[in-house]
Symmetry: C2
Subunit: 374 residues, 2 copies
Amino acid sequence: MAAVTYKLIKQCRQSGARLGKLITPHGEIDTPVFMPVGTQASVKGISPEELEAVGAKIILGNTYHLFLRPGHELIREAGGLHKFMNWNGSILTDSGGFQVFSLSDLRKITEEGVHFRSHLDGAKLFLTPEKVMEIENALGADIIMAFDECAPYPSTYEYTKRSLERTTRWAERCLNAHKNTEKQSLFGIVQGGTFAELRKQSAREIVSLDFPGYAIGGLSVGEETQIMYDMLEETVPLLPSDKARYLMGVGRPDNLVEGVIRGIDMFDCVLPTRIGRNGTALTSKGRIIVRDAKYAHDYGPIDPECDCPACRNHTRAYIRHLLKAGEMYGLRLVTIHNLRYLQRLMAEIRQAIMDDRLLDFRDEFYAKLDGNRP
Amino acid sequence: MAAVTYKLIKQCRQSGARLGKLITPHGEIDTPVFMPVGTQASVKGISPEELEAVGAKIILGNTYHLFLRPGHELIREAGGLHKFMNWNGSILTDSGGFQVFSLSDLRKITEEGVHFRSHLDGAKLFLTPEKVMEIENALGADIIMAFDECAPYPSTYEYTKRSLERTTRWAERCLNAHKNTEKQSLFGIVQGGTFAELRKQSAREIVSLDFPGYAIGGLSVGEETQIMYDMLEETVPLLPSDKARYLMGVGRPDNLVEGVIRGIDMFDCVLPTRIGRNGTALTSKGRIIVRDAKYAHDYGPIDPECDCPACRNHTRAYIRHLLKAGEMYGLRLVTIHNLRYLQRLMAEIRQAIMDDRLLDFRDEFYAKLDGNRP
């Protein structure tokens, strides 16, 4: 029995979307779920208690960052990532594949692995599927991801094909190298860029390796949104229905609704924390740039529908002042609001699946936005 | 009856230090008390709930900063500073005197007031005692401070004398201009630099104006610590025993102990928040530079004696990692620890007064430090 299992509860009779449970050594998680990102063993500015209070049950850690600093051996020594950061919920670590390709310098990909330089100090480093498994085993997350190549967008058909085939070989090496199967489950990653045929090839190859869960990687990397939806429609039907399906790096509210409709169970993204630090709040009526002058005298909450500490305790005028004045507490408030907004959105999505009306919910979602940016 | 009153409960039979209560429209405060500084309507990085949880009953706001941004009229419109920042405890606002002299550019002092340029945008501004009262009345703090000149250190005897005499005339103008005496109490400020004779002159003049409380300003501005203690010994005996005595801008732990022994009831300082953001923690054994390499593998709390969230929930190794990685949550944790440390220290000081053993407590305090920096 895998450390992490997925239980399908029901499918929406209107949309086919899945309501389920992900069961990990650290608890049960209602799906579809959004996972906040704690890149460096901290969801930026937010305490573990606050994360729990906004309703997060599972968060992400970034293998690449934690490998560089403080180092996976230190985290192993500290008792693993859960204990190191004092988070008692579940954790998923990515494989570092995306970061190696987006953050590091001078990378060189070989069949064996990737040579690159640290973005922190320029140190020469080498990651292989086996090394990534060693790191992720040391970090001890409930769900760990296979080491993949996230091909740049755009890439040619030929490059994307060679890349996904190497990702399949690396996935097999990850399966063989993963040591801690009793407490950690290794998910495979489907690649294939924006080519339907290659997405299908990758899905078939990765599924044939029999992972306890599957991710779809390499989307939301610059392509048109419709292309992402098309790729999901090509890929998801090839994934087994008794395993969780995770769309990596996606968190824009409309993408969450559309992703769930296309059969996705798990999402992660830095969007709520990143735009929060930039003073932008997510609401059901679209984004609010809280630092805008028009909110200077606005003594209402960011979002009257929200029950987060920022909305319960503070006004737009106050939070705008904090942001303008460069006060940390302002960033903290908008971040926590955004995290809560996405947790509430996912809860509404789950309820709509339960009620067999997710397509109606989508219509209402877009109607509320009224053309504003989601 | 003044809006804010002081009630002397007892004096330490060993040291003469005072145990008392400050009663404001927002509650009762045990004294001696340390007041965290919330310069721009926020104690940096910390929520009002967290402030309450560390035991703070009264905080400071800075008139100069709030006048510049967001402006006192906006805060008046928001219902005052308490409501604007959602702090239900007491607030004291300084008069902006110190900031005008330390932060602004191109200041020019006349009998009428001070011309200066905003440190934010260079705008030409003019503050008078009457204008400062208008601003502080708009902010609505429980305790407001008279507009004074904090003479630079070192200053000549002649300059300091002229300056303190002008400060006395300004204090009288503040008394006449203060409009909201039912809800706000105006405290006078004793100046006089490092000259015992001038400190006494200022104390006599300011006390003759009959304020509901008295502050000692212009100390801890660069002079030797012993000079500060000497000035307190010259000044405090001239202050009436039925009013609170506030030593402005002082917060180093040893200065708090020594200040209380010399009859001080109230303190404020940016020290716990400023050094917290710098990764330095206050403990009874001296300061800890949490980012030091020696704590990389230290899985104990910052301070085993502390009950704050940082010490209850996280290790030195984790907090060091956050600080090294530039994570906001690290600054937040060290800041909250430092705030809690000073609240605990003040509670211990109050207990030692109650037990008539504050001089013994001082000995123990220094012994625990064992030569380390307090």
